[in-house]
């Protein structure tokens, strides 16, 4: 039993698949690739049970078979080879010989029974009872949406639902929501619809791997209740979903924030970055004193005896107000709105959540960020 494959095309494929291989796992079988050879098509799978990656390439082979090979070792050897043809010879003694023009590399393989099942979606048109959703979205657009929302995901494992990004299909379009209880991002893509409304929570690990494999090309997304598949070119990325209810984020978005502050994003961002240096390391507090046409931003670290303040021009209509924020959170929020020339801060009082959104709205998307203030004790 043997098959041949070009070293560079194999390397390219393994490079895409290897992010799903966990490094320290209680289940050593996961540190392997599953090779499935069927009718001259070699499909390689890797999974850590939460996410799975698979991709295929054509090889010269006469038989069908499945085997499990150590991922790191195979990847490292293939990567270090020059462009050549590798002949895989499978011996009955549990060994594979990788033969090139000048060398033979022998590695052990395992039987496929122990490898976990990779979720699959029923073939289109099959009579499955389960409702499978399907949408197509441009790779760039999805990447941007993830970039803009994923930073606000919670790292606090007491509420697992918040450790993922919500993809919510509604009549208005597809909504990406993430929050950690201190800030919230709510991004609406108006042109993407499903025939029904549903919420899917994609875990953090999936988001971070997905961003790496996204390209410009369109992504086909298949959605079931337990998992989502993203088809990016010849790779399929499958992730489990978080089986929890996403908190009712709509109820925390204030409606009565009538005081609008309009400010230039770049100016504010660079000022906030300087305030980061002066805000105390524990509270990270920065104070915004807002009056008509002027925001005074200040930070003081009493332990270090350091103080800084800056004035920035703005347009503000309401009553003067002093409000405190966590400077790291303000920085996060504004840096993810950098591409906007001007942004609004919609305020109500120093203790109520603040809405931050771009001044110029796009036709096909709507983004809104929410930031909780911190108490100023003067």
């Amino acid at each position: 039993m043997e098959f041949k494959v070009n070293s560079k095309s194999l390397e390219k494929l393994l490079t895409k698949i290897i992010p799903a291989v966990p490094s320290r796992t209680p289940m050593p079988i996961l540190e392997n690739f599953l090779f499935e050879l069927k009718d001259g098509l070699l499909t390689i799978y890797a999974t850590d049970l939460e996410i799975a990656l698979k991709s295929s390439l054509n090889v010269v082979a006469e038989e069908n078979m499945k085997l499990v090979v150590p991922a790191r070792l195979l990847y490292d050897i293939v990567r270090s080879l020059q462009e050549t043809t590798i002949l895989f010879q499978i011996t009955p003694g549990g060994k594979i010989n990788l033969k090139t023009d000048n060398g033979v590399y022998t590695i052990s393989y395992l039987l496929p029974e122990e490898f976990p099942d990779i979720p699959t979606f029923p073939e289109p048109g099959s009579t499955s009872t389960e409702n499978i959703g399907e949408v197509i979205i441009s790779g760039n657009e999805l990447k941007r949406a993830i970039d803009q929302t994923s930073f606000a995901m919670s790292k606090e494992d007491m509420r697992p639902a918040m450790m993922g990004t919500l993809m919510e299909f509604t009549e208005e379009g597809l909504r990406f929501v993430s929050t950690d209880g201190h800030r919230l991002v709510n991004l609406l893509k108006k042109e993407i619809h499903l025939t029904y409304n549903e919420q899917y929570i994609v875990p953090e690990r999936a988001i971070s791997v997905l961003v790496k494999i996204l390209e410009e090309k369109d992504v086909k997304i298949l959605l079931s209740k337990t998992y989502i598949s993203y088809k990016v070119g010849d790779i399929e990325f499958i992730t489990r979903l978080i089986a929890q209810k996403y908190p009712d984020y709509k109820s925390v978005i204030p409606l009565e924030n009538e005081n609008k502050l309009k400010i230039r994003t770049a100016e504010l961002l660079s000022a906030v970055k300087r305030m980061l240096l002066f805000s105390p390391t524990n509270s990270r507090k920065v104070k915004f004193s807002i009056t008509a046409n002027n925001v005074e931003i200040s930070a003081e670290d009493i332990d270090q005896g350091a103080f800084a303040k800056e004035n920035i021009y703005c347009e503000y209509s309401g009553e003067s107000i002093d409000i405190g924020f966590n400077s790291a959170y303000v920085n996060d929020v504004i840096s993810h709105l950098q591409t906007e020339e001007e942004i609004y801060f919609k305020l109500h009082s120093p203790t109520k959540a603040v809405i931050i959104e771009p001044v110029k709205k796009k036709d096909n998307e709507d983004i809104m960020m929410l930031l909780m203030p911190v108490r100023l004790n003067n």
Binding site: R24, P26, I29, P116, K225, T226, I242, A243
Partner: protein
């Protein structure tokens, strides 16, 4: 050794020795189809709690109409494959490990290899006793991993079992972290906690679990396990089984020493101590305290207690001795010291055994044993 898999149509408890009562109880639970979401398997170490839990998990996830798939799942459960089975056990700490690290993140390559080796042994021989150095508690990060595991959607799996071995080695913080998951696990998640010391568990944990008790194994069962699972010859198995208190682990502990010469040494210690030959007695006992854990010293004490049980048996003309090769010595002892207070000395020796775990200097304990025995001649009733 070949991995024994149960035949679902036949006997789901393949490979489990003894525990008849427990098997019947669990069988009834499976038949009722109303499965509690948390179990506490409690009983002495080395009586088959782990294997019972594995078989129970396999039985729950088996589907009588689909044998091939059931077998496949059973194999995965036996290999601790998630999502079917999440296996939690005490782990050593890595260098510079903080509570923010995952449970395996900071372990060295050697520690990981050893962990894998020991787990593999347990998988292929369920009565094997996993021994990892410095694995003294179940980490809070392991408990967090349970939470994460449970939050994922695995609708296609009927039952996901979380098996926590040596659950009493969770500290209070870890136990409290587990509570929330125990209270309201998602559908299909079943906790099985194994413990040999349920007193160390919080009441709040115990009250949320369905208790299942395990008994010490019979001598015959121990012999069968030692010969079949550990390939120990029949004679050795027999003599180990007598002293095992119904626990495979205990029998294996004795096996770490050359058991016959170990027994001989214990008799010598007894002989010298009672004759007030303190120096000779100390010379016998000294090599046994060189391992700083004190485990050997504990075994010595246990054997001495067994010896006193023989003395007691002799008094009542029960011929069934532990030290049957030394029955003459026992008889002579009884002739010479017919009216000593055996209860008292056994209690005192047990206290010394306890002190080993409390980190008392082993030399002092060794001397205590000797003097305790020497005092026999003055402690007549």
């Amino acid at each position: 050794m070949r991995l024994l898999l149960p035949n679902m149509n036949n006997d789901i408890w393949t490979g489990i020795f003894g525990q008849q009562h427990t098997k019947e109880l669990l069988q009834r639970i499976i038949a009722s189809n109303r499965i509690p979401h948390a179990f506490l398997f409690s009983g002495p170490e080395g009586v088959g709690k782990y294997l019972t839990a594995i078989r129970f998990a396999q039985a729950l996830n088996s589907n009588p109409t689909d044998n091939v798939n059931s077998e496949n799942v059973a194999l995965k459960i036996a290999h601790h494959s998630e999502p079917y089975l999440k296996f939690i056990m005490p782990l050593p700490r890595g260098k510079n490990e903080t509570s923010d690290n995952t449970s395996l993140e900071k372990l060295s390559k050697e520690q990981l290899d050893l962990l894998k080796e020991e787990t593999d042994k347990k998988i292929s021989n369920p009565y094997y006793h996993i021994c990892l150095e410095n694995a003294n508690n179940i980490k809070i990060s392991s408990i967090r991993e349970i939470r994460k595991f449970l939050s994922m959607n695995f609708d296609e799996v009927k039952y996901r079992i979380i098996l926590i071995s040596e659950a009493h080695l969770m500290n209070d913080e870890a136990q409290n972290a587990l509570l929330k998951n125990l209270e309201e696990p998602p559908e299909g998640a079943i906790f099985i906690l194994l413990t040999s010391n349920r007193n160390l568990l919080l009441d709040t944990i115990i009250s949320r679990c369905w208790s299942v008790n395990f008994e010490p194994l019979s001598t015959e069962d121990i012999i069968s396990i030692l010969t079949r699972n550990f390939s120990i010859d029949e004679d050795t198995s027999k003599s180990l089984a007598l002293f095992s208190n119904g626990s495979v682990y205990k029998a294996l502990d004795f096996l770490k020493h050359d058991f016959d010469s170990f027994k001989g040494k214990v008799i010598n210690i007894l002989r010298y101590s009672i004759a007030s030959k303190f120096h000779s007695a100390y010379k016998e006992i000294q090599p046994l305290i060189s391992d700083s854990s004190g485990q050997s010293l504990k075994l010595v004490i246990q054997l001495i207690i067994f010896w006193f049980v023989d003395v007691q048996k002799n008094k009542h003309q029960i011929q069934d001795y532990f030290f049957w090769e030394d029955s003459e010595t026992v008889e002579k002892f009884n002739l010479k010291f017919s009216n000593i207070d055996i209860n008292n000395i056994v209690v005192n020796l047990s206290n010394i055994e306890q002190a080993v775990d409390n980190n008392v200097n082993l030399n002092i304990l060794a001397l205590n044993i000797i003097f305790e025995l020497a005092s026999l001649r003055f402690n007549r009733i």
